[in-house]
């Protein structure tokens, strides 16, 4: 084999292993010492060694086992450098033996590294970790995304994001945050934080709906992967199923969200042939699996709303009464003014625009909403329906001023321009 071919093969094998097993390797290696940062460094060095060794000696039959052994050696080196004293020596020996056994098993069989990724996710989303850094932490630790990429997705500076990630890992280690799946009685609360972190990652990926920013689109895919992982490991948790269903419904419509000119297309006007029906069917199946488990929650309701919207487009018949009921339930759970806006839009379909406008008036006291584009767009839309053109024009004006996405801004401008013709 020529060295160029060998290099390429080594690189593609390493890439494949990184995609397939990175999080599994981190979780396994870090579970005992809780020292995530050292494990990441050790794995990075192990991957670097692989890219030197594999082109010369051929790719190993079990690349995961090879990397695990290499990373284990690096970890023991790190620990020797950092730790002295007899007690530490004993602990090191124990870790070494444990890792040795696992590495031996994994070179003789198919990969047998116990899957501790979910436990790692629970550590990253522990209540002792600042809520805002949980999603970035999960993305970095489980998927190996670098701080710069995560920072750009979450609209912060790479330095600031890097520091927050370092602090969080430092806390996991020093405060002794355990890697374990919580007991059933505490699971609901703790799982919520994990699901919220995954959804936050998904939403950040979704914001760039044009799909021009590759890093962000990947983020939505990675969030789907994590959502799948949680439902595989906790198959009877209805909210985990609900979240995955919700993400699939949204992802299924991604290709239809922009027209050929890159312009925003509202759901009511989307070309349904562009929807990914496999994803939608998978989402429907997940919701069906969740419902007999008899524990309703935010993600199941949001997924059910998505399901209702999809059904409306597919059948041409809308059950707006049911949609309003779902929003009622969601509002009772979340108390979110954002949910209240969407509920008002559904009410408009049942009781007419004036009733919906009255609801919006009631929300106007919430100061957060005065800076929230969808509030003004909803107001504009409802005012236009009652032929209050001046009011609608002004509300569109504010909505346009608040919108960041140029495609959505363009869409709102078109709506505003259409007012004159009513």
């Amino acid at each position: 084999m020529s060295s160029v071919e060998g290099d390429e093969q080594a690189r593609s094998t390493a890439d494949a292993v990184a995609r397939r097993s990175y999080g599994r390797l981190v979780a396994f290696l870090a579970a005992r010492t809780r020292d995530v940062a050292s494990v990441e460094d050790a794995l990075a060095e192990a991957f670097a060694s692989a890219l030197q060794d594999w082109p010369r000696n051929g790719c190993p039959a079990n690349p995961e086992g090879w990397l695990l052994t290499a990373a284990r050696r690096k970890l023991i080196d790190f620990a020797r450098r950092r730790r002295t004293g007899e007690a530490a020596g004993g602990e090191l020996q124990l870790i070494a033996e444990e890792l040795e056994a696992a590495a031996a098993a994994s070179t003789t069989h198919e990969l047998q590294i116990p899957d501790q990724r979910l436990a790692l996710m629970f550590a990253c989303a522990h209540p002792a970790i600042e809520a805002g850094v949980r999603a970035p932490l999960i993305l970095q630790v489980l998927l190996g995304l670098d701080a710069a990429m995560i920072a750009s997705a979450f609209l912060t500076s790479p330095t600031a994001m890097g520091q927050r990630l370092v602090r969080a890992k430092d806390k996991i280690r020093k405060a002794g945050i355990p890697f374990r799946i919580p007991e059933p009685e505490e699971l609901p609360g703790r799982l919520g934080a994990v699901l919220d972190a995954i959804y936050a990652a998904f939403s950040e990926g979704w914001t760039d709906s044009g799909g021009t920013d590759v890093a962000r689109r990947d983020l939505a895919e990675e969030a789907l992967f994590l959502g799948q992982l949680v439902t595989q490991m906790l198959p009877d948790e209805p909210e985990a199923l609900g979240l995955l269903a919700l993400m699939l419904y949204v992802e299924a419509r991604r290709p239809a969200r922009r027209n050929a000119r890159g312009e925003y297309v509202p759901m009511a006007e989307q070309d349904m042939s562009l929807w990914n029906m496999d994803m939608i069917e998978a989402a429907e199946g997940l919701l069906l699996r969740a419902s007999p488990l008899n524990s309703i929650g935010r993600y199941q309701i949001e997924a059910a709303l998505q399901s209702a919207h999809v059904a409306r487009r597919r059948s041409g018949h809308a059950n707006w009464g049911a949609v309003v009921q779902l929003y009622d339930a969601l509002l009772a759970l979340s108390g979110s003014p954002v949910v209240a806006i969407n509920r008002a839009l559904a009410v408009a379909e049942v009781d007419g625009a004036p009733a919906a406008l009255a609801i919006l008036e009631g929300l106007a006291a919430d100061e957060r909403l005065t800076q929230y584009q969808p509030y003004w767009a909803a107001r504009a839309e409802l005012l236009a329906r009652t032929n209050a053109c001046d009011g609608a024009r002004h509300a569109y004006e504010v909505a346009i001023g608040l919108e960041r996405d140029p495609a959505v801004r363009h869409f709102l401008l078109q709506r505003q321009a259409a007012l004159a013709r009513i």
Partner: protein, 119 residues
């Protein structure tokens, strides 16, 4: 691992309790300590005199400054501590939740710096 549970409570509240209530409060701490001992988690503990008894010392430019009063004035004051053994943070947090001070004040949980940890 070792964790310090730092008990922050309103130090004036205790004096306002009836003797019977004071006895009950004291008993709750005794039971907590007993439970820690039974679980082999207890290392040591202490109750602090009120901050009116505090004196603060600081040496700057070789000069020792002694000040009357606590380091900072706060609504709740450090009133006591428990040093415990726990396998991980979750175990330490569940002890903190059982500590009577978490009912009428706040318990801060801090890991003890282990000697071989350089950073």
């Amino acid at each position: 691992m070792q964790y310090m549970l730092l008990l922050y409570v309103d130090q004036n509240a205790y004096a306002k309790l009836s003797p019977e209530e004071q006895k009950q409060g004291y008993g709750a701490y005794m039971s907590f300590m007993e439970a820690l001992k039974k679980a082999d988690a207890y290392q040591t503990s202490g109750r602090l005199q009120p901050t009116t008894t505090a004196t603060t010392v600081r040496v700057s430019n070789g000069k020792t400054q002694v000040l009357n009063g606590p380091y900072t004035e706060t609504k709740e004051q450090l009133g006591g501590y428990f040093l415990i053994n726990a396998p991980d943070l979750d175990a330490a947090l569940s002890w903190a939740a059982r500590c009577p001070a978490s009912q009428h004040g706040t318990v801060e949980v801090r890991p003890i710096w282990e000697m071989y940890q350089q950073s």
